[in-house]
Amino acid sequence: MAIIALQKVSKTYNPGLFKKKVLAVSELSLEVTRGEVFGLIGPNGAGKSSTIRMLLGLIRPDSGSITFLDRPLEDADIQSKIGYLPENPYLYDHLTLEELLAFSGRASGLSSKETSSRGGELMEKLAMTEVRKRPLRTFSKGMLQRAGICFALLHDPSVVILDEPMSGLDPIGRKMVFDLVTDLKSQGKTIFFCSHILTDVERLCDRIGVMVGGRLIRILDRDAFAESSGPALHLLVAPLSEDQRRTIEPLVSDIAEERDHHVVSLPTAALANVSEQLKTLGVEIRGSRSDRLSLEEIFMQAVEENR
C-alpha cells in the first residue's frame, strides 16, 4: 500500500512582476510504500525541496494530486503521522533544547511524561543530553541539525521526511544520523529523504528517484543497482611469476600489471575456480574491485542525458 502517492504533480513559482515564472516540479508521479526508504536526489534547483513542501502542505501543487494513505492531503491529518527535518533548520535562538522538545510534545498531543522519556531517549542517541539546557543560539550547525532531528522524531512518527539530514554534520554526527535512520528503517518506518551525499543515499535507500529540472527522470531500485554492476571482477594479487601467469591465463579474461601487484580480471562466474587455482599456486589475494557503477556515476549519467 502506498503511504505517499504523487500523481502528475506540477508546481510553478511566480517570482514577481515582470519576472519569468519558474517551473519547480513538472508532472511528478511517484509512490512510497510502507516501510520503504525512498531517496530523492538531484542537482540544486531540481525540485526536491519543493516536492517535500508540497507533501507537507506548505505549498500547493498547480495540478496533479497528492495522497497520504489514499486520502487527499487536506483530509489526511498528515502532520500527526510525520516527522520533518528541513535543510538547515532555524530553531528558536533563546529556547533550550529541552523547551523546544516540550513544545514539540505539547503540539503533538503527548503527555509531559511521554515527552520527557522519548526526548531523553532521542537526546541520548544523538549525544545531546549534556547540552539540553543550553540556548539553541549557542549550538553549532551540526548540533542544530541533531536538535532538529530530535524535534522531528519526538512523537514517534510513522513517516519521516528528511531534507539533507547529513548537511553540516561532522563524520561522528553523520554516523549517528546514519545509525538512527538505519534504526528507523529496522522499526519499519517509512522514510523519504533528500541528500547530496550519494554514498549515504546508496547505503540507506531501497529506491532512489533522480530529479533533474523538476522532472523525475529515473527511479532506481536494488535490482537496478545489481544490473548496473559490470560483468567483470578484478582481483588484486601479489606479483605473479611467469609460470603462475601461464597457469591461470586460460581461466581469466585479462591480467594487468600495476605498481606492486597484478590485477586479474575474470567473469564473476569464474571466481570460485580462479580463487581455488590461486590458492593452489600460493598466490596471495590482496583485494578485489568490481565493475559496478557507483550511484554518483549513474547520477551523473542521468543528469548529462537530461540536460
Binding site: L56, L58, R60, L91, E99, F103, A107
Partner: protein, 271 residues
Amino acid sequence: MKKVLALALITYREGIRNRSVFGIVLFSLFIFGLNIAVAGFFMRDVGKVTVDMNLSALSVAGLLLVFFVGVNLMAKDIDRKTIHLVLSKPISRVEYIWGKYFGILFFILASMAVLFVLSCFTVLLLKGMYADYFGQFSWLVFSLAAFFVFVKVAVLAGIVVFFSSITSNSFITLVFSICAFIVGVSIEEVVFYLRSAFAAQEAAISGSLRSFIEAISYFVPNLAAFDFKTEAAHGLPLAWDRLGLSLGYAAAYVVVLLLLASFIFRRREFN
C-alpha cells in the same frame, strides 16, 4: 487550545529572553530617573509632569517592545523558515496566528507589568517628596491610564501579526506597522478637524479627500481612544462606560484583525 498555549509559551520565552528587552527596560529606568532628577523644576506642576512622564515612558517602552521585539517573534519565523518546522507539527495555521498573538501579548504584559511597578515606585517617591503637589493624583486613574497604554500596545501587536501574515519580510512588517501606528494616533484629530467649521472654509480640502479620510478612519485603529494621560495627570474621573467602550473597541479590532490574518494565512504558501 493546548496547542495555542504551547505556541504562546515558546513565543513568550523567546521574547522575554531577547536582549533588546533589557535595553528597553534600561531606557525606561533612565526616564524614571530623569523624572526624579528634574521634577523639582516644575514647582506646582510636579504631579502632572510626573504622571505624564511615567505614562509616556511606559508608552514608548511598549512601542519599542512591540515594534522591535514583537515583530521578530512572528515575522522572523517566516523570514527564517522556522515556520516550516512549526507547521510540520499538528498545529493549524489558525492556531499558529492565535498562538503567536497570545505569546506576544504575554511577553508585552510581563514586560510592561515590571515597568509599571518601577513607575509606581517613581511616583511614590516623588509623591513623598512633593506631597503638596499631588493633591489631585489618583492611583486608580493612573493605573487605568497605564492599563490602557498596554491595551494600545496589544492592538499594535494585532497589527504586527496581521502584517506578518501578509508579508514574508520582517522589515516590511515593521514599516507597515509603524505607518499604521502613526496614522492611528493622529486619525481622530484629523477627522475632528475635517468635521469642524474651520475645515469647511478650507478650499484646499476637496470633497473626495474628505470622503477618503472618513473611509480610512474606519479601517485604521483609533489609538487616541486609549489615551488617558490628560485625565491621569489632572486626576479627572474616568467614566466607566467610556473605558468599557475603549476596551470593547480594542478587543473587537484585534479579533477582526486576527480573523483576517487567519483567513489570509490559511491560503498562504511558504516557499
